[in-house]
């Protein structure tokens, strides 16, 4: 198996738009107004509409499945949302191999805003095929 601790996952840069947030709201069925209604977002002390945490999780999920391909199976995927992100700004998804034990591999993944702040951090565990 050709995976070593410290290997970096090919980064994935997303360019979320308000349109995408509406599309995601419909696809997930989460119509909480903070994701598409600027006035509402301001009324709850947000700087404007923000990305769904689960959309950022989906971006990081893609980072992992793009890297993994058919070489193994995703077993767990965990994300914590540490900050809000706004549409109209690139969202950079990155990751690296944190641990390898036989066929079990743990990945550290995170999403960065334009300033390099990690607004989403997470872990994925995968089982590689022999």
């Amino acid at each position: 198996m050709n995976v070593k601790v410290g290997d970096e996952l090919p980064e994935l840069v997303k360019h979320p738009t308000t349109r995408q947030l509406v599309q995601y709201a419909g696809a997930q069925g989460d119509f909480y107004e903070i994701h598409y209604d600027q006035e509402y977002a301001h009324s709850v002390a947000l700087p404007g509409v923000i990305l769904h945490g689960l959309l950022k999780a989906a971006f990081l999920g893609q980072l992992v499945t793009d890297w993994l391909g058919d070489r193994g199976t995703l077993k767990t995927f965990e994300v914590s949302y540490r900050g809000v992100d706004m549409p109209g700004h690139p969202y950079r998804c990155r990751g690296r191999v944190a641990r390898v034990e036989g066929d079990d591999v743990e990945l550290e993944v995170w999403g960065e805003d334009e300033t390099g702040k990690r607004t989403t951090v997470g872990t994925a565990t995968v089982q590689m095929r022999d």
Partner: protein, 151 residues
Amino acid sequence: MSNQEEPSLSGLPAATAPVIDRLKSRIGVDGPSVTATVEAGHLKRFAEAIGDRNPRWAREVPPTFLVALAPISVHVAEAEEYGKGWLNGGNRFEYVAPVTVGDHVTATGRIADVYEKPGSTGALLFIIFETDYVNQRGELVARLRGTMIRR
């Protein structure tokens, strides 16, 4: 606010017991199950919405799709008496078996924990939800744990 006489483990009428006690009384109690079919069209719209063009998502579900399959009780109405907005704190998915187009998946959710924590701009209410997903053959396919925060 509703004035219904809901029973509450704290012994207080539901409408006057602090919301945190009412939520705590539901820890570990399964909510109503929801069954949904994984439809190819829904899967396609979801993959488009997240901007993931991987062709495998024509048949298989991507890692976070299950949250879109059945409404999970993340927005517990009564918790909205606390604070003024929701924040998603985090999600943890555990994958046990593959889910593909045509599967009938039953989601059963419950509150796993409720607690208050001080935040930088006042107290925050944390609600931990768990959802189990079981397929048409009765096999557990995935588990989800989510942290929702009222601020």
